[in-house]
């Protein structure tokens, strides 16, 4: 299957869920509506022709703009077709919540935890949404564009000398 066929199949099944798409140097990117990411993912994984069964990475992007500030990017691979697809979901700053895809690809578990830790994007329905890198009691999200490089003073306690 080539990218055009994959996109046609996806659009044929969920025309209203696909906001846009882009192809760059043979890599297909599909923008998906936030609330439909789970069913689109489920279709991509379970369809016998597509068989996108491996989540390579899920991460966040801070676009630092007034509307739809954050983006969550999923890189999915099909072992059967030896093809990648990239799904993008946009989410606003006021309620940065995206449905979890751990039910579709269990490998997304830690990727979503990392995205929560670094960007503060919540994943609704995630089984264990703890921070991955930073200490539990840390209150900020370091990869947001408005987070200072050297951190916020006294936000990370050191042991007493």
């Amino acid at each position: 299957m080539n990218n055009g066929q994959i996109l046609d199949k996806l659009k044929g099944r969920y025309p209203e869920s696909i906001i846009g798409s882009d192809e760059f140097r043979g890599d297909l990117t599909v923008n998906v509506r936030k609330d439909d990411i789970v069913r689109v993912g489920e279709f991509l994984r379970s369809d016998p022709d597509l068989s996108f069964d491996l989540i390579v990475d899920a991460c966040g992007v801070d676009m630092y703009r007034p509307e739809e500030r954050f983006e969550v990017v999923y890189n999915i691979y099909s072992l059967k077709n030896k093809r990648y697809i990239r799904l993008k979901v946009r989410v606003g700053e006021e309620d940065p919540t995206v449905p979890t895809v751990t039910g579709v690809w269990p490998g997304a578990n830690w990727h979503e935890r990392e995205t929560w830790d670094m960007f503060g994007i919540k994943f609704a329905g995630h089984p264990d949404l703890r921070r991955l890198y930073m200490p539990e009691e840390f209150e900020h999200h370091p990869l947001r564009k408005d987070f200072p490089l050297m951190g916020i003073p006294d936000s990370l306690p050191l042991p007493r000398r």
């Binding site: 890198y133 930073m134 200490p135 370091p142 987070f147 200072p148 490089l149 050297m150 951190g151 916020i152 990370l156 050191l158 042991p159 007493r160 000398r161």
Partner: protein, 179 residues
Amino acid sequence: MAIESLQRDGFLTTRLDEVIKWARKNSLWPMPMGISCCAIEMMATASPRFDISRFGSEVMRFTPRQCDVMIVAGTVNYKMARVVRKIYDQMPEPKWVISMGACASSGGMFRSYAVVQGIDQFIPVDVFVAGCPPRPENLLHALMDLQKKIQGEASMGRGRGLPIYIPENPEPAIKAQPA
């Protein structure tokens, strides 16, 4: 002179303090706190080529209970700082700390929110070693500096709350008395 009297008379006189310090400085058992690439150089220091056992420090113990000097070899981030402090607290007195390399001493190239910009913010450091990573010779030099420091300070009743820095020209431990 002392050796001559030992050979001639079969005994020597000295201060107990000096003997204790002499024993301590020549059997500094390290706690290898190897947390990144500096640890590779620390391992090389233990290898036959550089041979840290020439200084009595070949006994690397992986339990803090048996160690005298902690060699912090690597980048310490805020999450790891608690672990380093806990291991330091578990070491019995007297104890010393060598901060090995740029990362442990100052944060090094990791000028970032996650990395402690110098471990002296949470444990007292006796010797800082420059380098990224330092050569094994440099670590051995630090060990020799520490030995000099131990020989130069009092052996007992010494508070470990504050670090003791070696001045450029250290005063002799025993001053000559005017006649």
